[in-house]
């Protein structure tokens, strides 16, 4: 199967590989949301971690680690790029179809983009579960705008 140049680029130069600590560490951190989706027997496991500014609700940083094919690695790499700088609600707006389009994924690889969208949702919902008060970041928006002035 031929890969698109963008998949190859993300695969060869993956953006934001890593994590914000061990599995046990990030579980304890309220400013980190973790999403792990997929299963080894399906040949894809994506781990996406977001580091959120608890004041502003903005995603300051995002990291991934993926067990999977080139398209799965590229989809998660792209997801981290797109997440950085967004609020968590804006993060939820990322759709798998946008990933498919950006990376020119063929039909057999659409599941990789679905997995990336699932990973985004899982990481954000993990963050929200850890921060029940900070719904979406809307509540902290006035504080953020005040700080930026």
């Amino acid at each position: 199967m031929a890969y698109s140049p963008k998949v190859i680029d993300h695969y060869e130069n993956p953006r934001n590989v890593g994590n914000f600590g061990t599995t046990a560490d990030v579980k304890k951190r309220a400013d980190v949301g973790v999403g792990i989706v997929g299963a080894p027997e399906c040949g894809d496991v994506m781990q996406l971690q977001i580091l959120v500014d608890q004041e502003t609700g903005k995603i300051k940083d995002a990291k991934f680690k993926t067990f999977g094919c080139g398209s799965a690695i590229a989809s998660s790499s792209l997801a981290t790029e797109w997440l950085k700088g967004r609020t968590i609600d804006e993060g939820l707006a990322i759709k798998n179809t946008q990933i498919v389009e950006e990376l020119s994924l063929p039909p057999v690889k659409i599941h990789c983009s679905v997995l990336a969208e699932d990973a985004i949702r899982a990481a954000i919902s993990d963050y929200k579960a850890k921060n029940p008060g900070a719904a979406g970041g809307a509540a902290s928006a006035p504080a953020a705008s005040a700080a930026s002035r």
Binding site: Y11, T22, T23, T66, G68, G70, H111
Partner: protein
């Protein structure tokens, strides 16, 4: 000298034609282009001579009589003709309680054996699909335990195409002989690489392919025993009655001549080549498993073809890995590399763990594989696995002491 890239390490899929084979074939395209069925002129006689010449060489490779060699379009056709042809010939008439007769095969056979047997099951035959143990070997004991009063056919491959394991062919053949059951073996990965003597090996029907032994594609052979017992088959393709009526259709003369030459060379070079490739494979396996933790060689460690290895590298996915070693042409058991998106049923059949089944590479060496290429492969595969592990969440979990089998994964 700089290494020419990419390097080919997928000889179990197909092999390049040996130039000596091509040379033998060439006259049959242009000067000796006749139809072997033309009995009344020189062109036909020349074509027939070419076929006879090739048949003799294939027979010699198998320790058979030339009258026992049927040329086909390849091992898939040979398997279909052997299995369907024998089942239809030896079926129970009238059908017994369990159908038209019982067939024994194995879950890790090639699809070209499994699917004909499955079709026969649909058509009223009964079948047992043996499950080998984790070492992948089918033993005579397993076959014996599955034998029934109404067993008419056993089909067990000689060596497995994905992991190279070698089954107890001679012993299974002896058992079948004793019970009066026809024994077919798919010898696609074996014949031409390893010694065959159909008499000593107790085989009644043996499939083989030309393109796996440095011959052209589109041609193969089926050995059909003529004595003790004389095996009969119902032809699956009717027409001009070529190949003693077993396989009608104008002969692929060029292909057959090529296969004959390939068989001749294989017989001459088999021993030395087997020893050379075994040494290279051992170097590759030792180096890779030493450099990479949590890696395993799949299938029985000794009872394997000398030129083939199937290795799993934990925590990295096969297709992702192949993308990282794009200068090495090989195959993977990963779901993503197959057209069906299913992971290898062979590795699954062996009970290889899921994350390891997805992480396997099959590397198969051949006539022009050099030590330099093997060194290149070792270095590149090691580097790629280590790079991908840096990116693998599973490897992190493994290092943190988390048992991956205990995690409840979200299935898609």
């Amino acid at each position: 000298m700089a290494l020419k890239l990419p390097i080919y390490m997928d000889h179990a899929a197909t092999t390049p034609c040996d130039p000596r084979v091509v040379e033998a074939m060439l006259p049959y395209f242009t000067e000796k282009f006749g139809n072997s069925g033309s009995r009344n002129h020189r062109f036909g006689w020349e074509a027939e001579e070419g076929i006879d010449w090739a048949r003799e060489r294939v027979a010699r490779l198998l320790g058979a009589n030339e009258k026992e060699v049927i040329f086909t379009s390849g091992a898939t056709e040979s398997n279909n003709l052997a299995i369907k042809g024998a089942a239809e010939m030896y079926e129970k008439k009238p059908a017994g309680q369990t159908g038209r007769g019982h067939i024994i095969t194995c879950i890790i056979e090639h699809k070209a054996v499994l699917d004909p047997v499955k079709r026969l099951v649909k058509e009223g035959f009964d079948a047992t699909f043996l499950e080998p143990g984790p070492d992948g070997i089918v033993t005579a004991k397993m076959v014996e335990a599955a034998m029934r009063e109404d067993t008419i056919l056993v089909s067990i491959m000689w060596a497995n195409n994905e992991i190279g394991t070698i089954n107890e062919v001679r012993e299974i053949g002896a058992l079948c002989r004793k019970r009066g059951v026809i024994f077919h073996s798919d010898g696609t990965q074996w014949a031409g690489k390893m010694p065959v003597n159909v008499e000593q090996d107790n085989v009644d029907l043996l499939s083989m392919s030309s393109h796996k032994i440095y011959g052209p594609k589109g041609v193969g052979a089926l050995y059909v025993r003529r004595r003790n017992p004389r095996v009969r088959l119902v032809a699956q393709q009717d027409g001009g009655g070529q190949e003693r009526g077993f396989r009608s259709g104008t002969h692929n003369v060029t292909g057959i001549v090529g296969m004959g030459k390939a068989a001749e060379i294989a017989l001459q070079e088999m021993d030395a080549e087997g020893a050379r490739l075994l040494q290279l494979r051992q170097k590759m396996e030792t180096s890779l498993t030493k450099a990479i933790d949590v890696s395993q060689i799949n299938g029985h460690l000794e009872k394997r073809l000398p030129h083939l290895t199937n290795i799993s590298f934990g925590f990295v996915e096969g297709e992702g890995l192949m993308m990282a070693i794009k200068d090495i042409a090989c195959s993977s058991g990963s779901a993503c590399t197959s057209a069906s998106l299913e992971p290898s049923y062979v590795l699954k059949g062996l009970g290889v763990g899921d994350e390891l089944a997805h992480s396997s590479l099959r590397l198969s060496l051949g006539r022009w594989t050099t030590e330099e290429q093997v060194d290149f492969a070792i270095e590149n595969i090691t580097r790629a696995v280590l790079k991908l592990r840096e990116m693998s969440p599973l490897y992190d979990m493994h290092k943190e002491g988390i048992d991956l089998s205990k995690i409840e994964w979200a299935h898609h």
